[in-house]
Symmetry: C2
Subunit: 405 residues, 2 copies
Amino acid sequence: MLIVQKFGGTSVANLERIRAVGERVRKTKEEGHDVVVVLSAPAGETDQLLKLANEISESPDPRECDSLISLGEQKNIALLGLYLHSKQVPCISLTAAQIPILSNKDHGKARILHIVPDRIRKELKSGKIVILPGFQGITDEGDTTTLGRGGSDTSAVAFAAALKADLCEIYTDVDGVYTADPRVVENPKLLKKISYEEMMELADSGAKVLQTRSVEVAAKHRVPLKVRSSFNDKPGTEVVAENETLEKILVAGVTLNTQEAKVAIRRIPSEAGVLAKFFAPLAEAGINVDMIVENLSKDGTTDLAFTVSKEDLRKTLKLAEGVAKRLGAGKVEAASDIAKISIVGLGMRTHAGVAYQIFKILADLGVTVQMVSTSEIKVSLVVAIDDAKRAVKGLHQAFGLDRSE
Amino acid sequence: MLIVQKFGGTSVANLERIRAVGERVRKTKEEGHDVVVVLSAPAGETDQLLKLANEISESPDPRECDSLISLGEQKNIALLGLYLHSKQVPCISLTAAQIPILSNKDHGKARILHIVPDRIRKELKSGKIVILPGFQGITDEGDTTTLGRGGSDTSAVAFAAALKADLCEIYTDVDGVYTADPRVVENPKLLKKISYEEMMELADSGAKVLQTRSVEVAAKHRVPLKVRSSFNDKPGTEVVAENETLEKILVAGVTLNTQEAKVAIRRIPSEAGVLAKFFAPLAEAGINVDMIVENLSKDGTTDLAFTVSKEDLRKTLKLAEGVAKRLGAGKVEAASDIAKISIVGLGMRTHAGVAYQIFKILADLGVTVQMVSTSEIKVSLVVAIDDAKRAVKGLHQAFGLDRSE
């Protein structure tokens, strides 16, 4: 088999951890597989480099900033290369330029356009373990780009897709994908399998175990994905196409996101394109809008509410107030003492009444729902931040996700 | 003018120093010059990376090691780029691959083969300050190489030569080139000008202010060189061709090197090629031999002595003992409690008796000379390490190099 193994920041945080990674990939190689290793920067190093950039410049130049913050992964691939060489394991580390992995020019959140697999294939064919940096690419002009937070997962899946790998293993510091965050719920279940679709919704809703984009790419190219711990040998969670899912469960997981803030505008005189008018300046400013809820009244005005990340709130308010004033809308209200809860499950597609169940559970808990939006396999809710943990625990238990021990 | 400005490790050790460098190059640019900046890694960072390499591997793979230890310069060029951008100064940092600067494949001590000046010229023409990494290159296969200790000086001079720059300024943490190391001699003189030849001999004899190879390249391409402090605005020392030297002085400087050890082999049965037999295995093992002294006796045997760096002594002894045994020579003796003193000056070429003066001064000081070798403009001596500082001070004073204040 050709296996891509990706190791996240805590799995490559220091020399001891890098040695452990070395032993794991060596074992995989000795079992007769071709191995491509994708590494993150040591935990915290990218943030530290970013801090330097922000210390020396108020608004860091994107090209220079990417050159700087891509160095952590380059350090780690060289270190793993040194370790494996010292153990007489044939290997080679390749930088983004040496591969090459081409991206667009969108510095800081670039998208992978094309991976040229020839060099990697050649090195694999000669019996080497190939060590690659996550999180980065180069433009067609040879400038370094980075893929944004969590981009190493996406790199790994993209390499697996380009090489038509048989498996892409994502090694992290948890045992796999849980039905809820163990820091919020005491006894969440570890999922043996989960569908790409559920995984995407979970990742998108704040489950930090995999980056959403990486699951999208995996689903698109049908890359068999596995999430495992680099600290033990447990089997982890398989992320697979829907028809392979063994357990038909109603709800796969409940997530909590406390990083968002809510903005609401009341009584907007309704006209065609009014939503576009609100969101155009936000898109231009690079502000990511998450939940959007709109409700048109019979009196010809409409109420709009949406969530953005807390750090974007001030900028968002300023822009939204400008538009509201021009349109003669009511006051713009904001709240950052909120949390978003998402309930994800393929079962929702076929089981009616899941939303009702959710509202009933929350009502019994005395939790007020401030916003709701639904997708095919997900219900997202905004509640007061003080109610959030209680709500997550209650939902988790009510949907039978607590591990019985 | 086109000016290349190179800043060493202490000049770019932290963000505060990088800001100071930014202001200096900005000023140079505002004076109407085209500016190319060459940066070292932050002081100590390359050593730290090398330490990591040696911790994770007993004999680090050269290719992976170069990938690792080249990261310090890459960090600094991005940081300076960020700073200048933040001050609205047009600039661009380029990596070794983006320039490109091509070297041979001799990892860890690569030699620059060719610099393609087109990209740098294009960026200069568009009004940008161009920021380049010292110490590194790439092979024609795109692998990163490093040029060895002090290689950033050589990079700077090579860029200056390739671009036909009008001036190459080497910024460091001392005010320029002194007649002796201020840590050894209380009041050495700062040289206003020095010839390439003298500078080469001084550098080669342990003056750390410039790397020997960089002076060689500067002399070969007649690159006007200036050594200055990045911590003040003093004019520094100009390194120029001989006919430009204004001050005709007998001795330009006295250096001290305590990093070498002496090896002596007595009573070697003399035959043609006997020296080659001793030095062949050393050359093969990559051991650099510095001073070599040989003296053939009338009885048909010869005495040989040479110096190597202390860290190579053990390996050297083993190899030399092997050869000595095969040739039926006497015992191989070694001493590491020695120091090498060099006296350098163009004046030696025309003034007879400088060697005599040196021996007389040392005799008056009661210092025993263990070894002597001479070149056209240099006399090198080996003395006991306990005599070394006294000898340097005495020579410095006797040749009138003490600053009179």
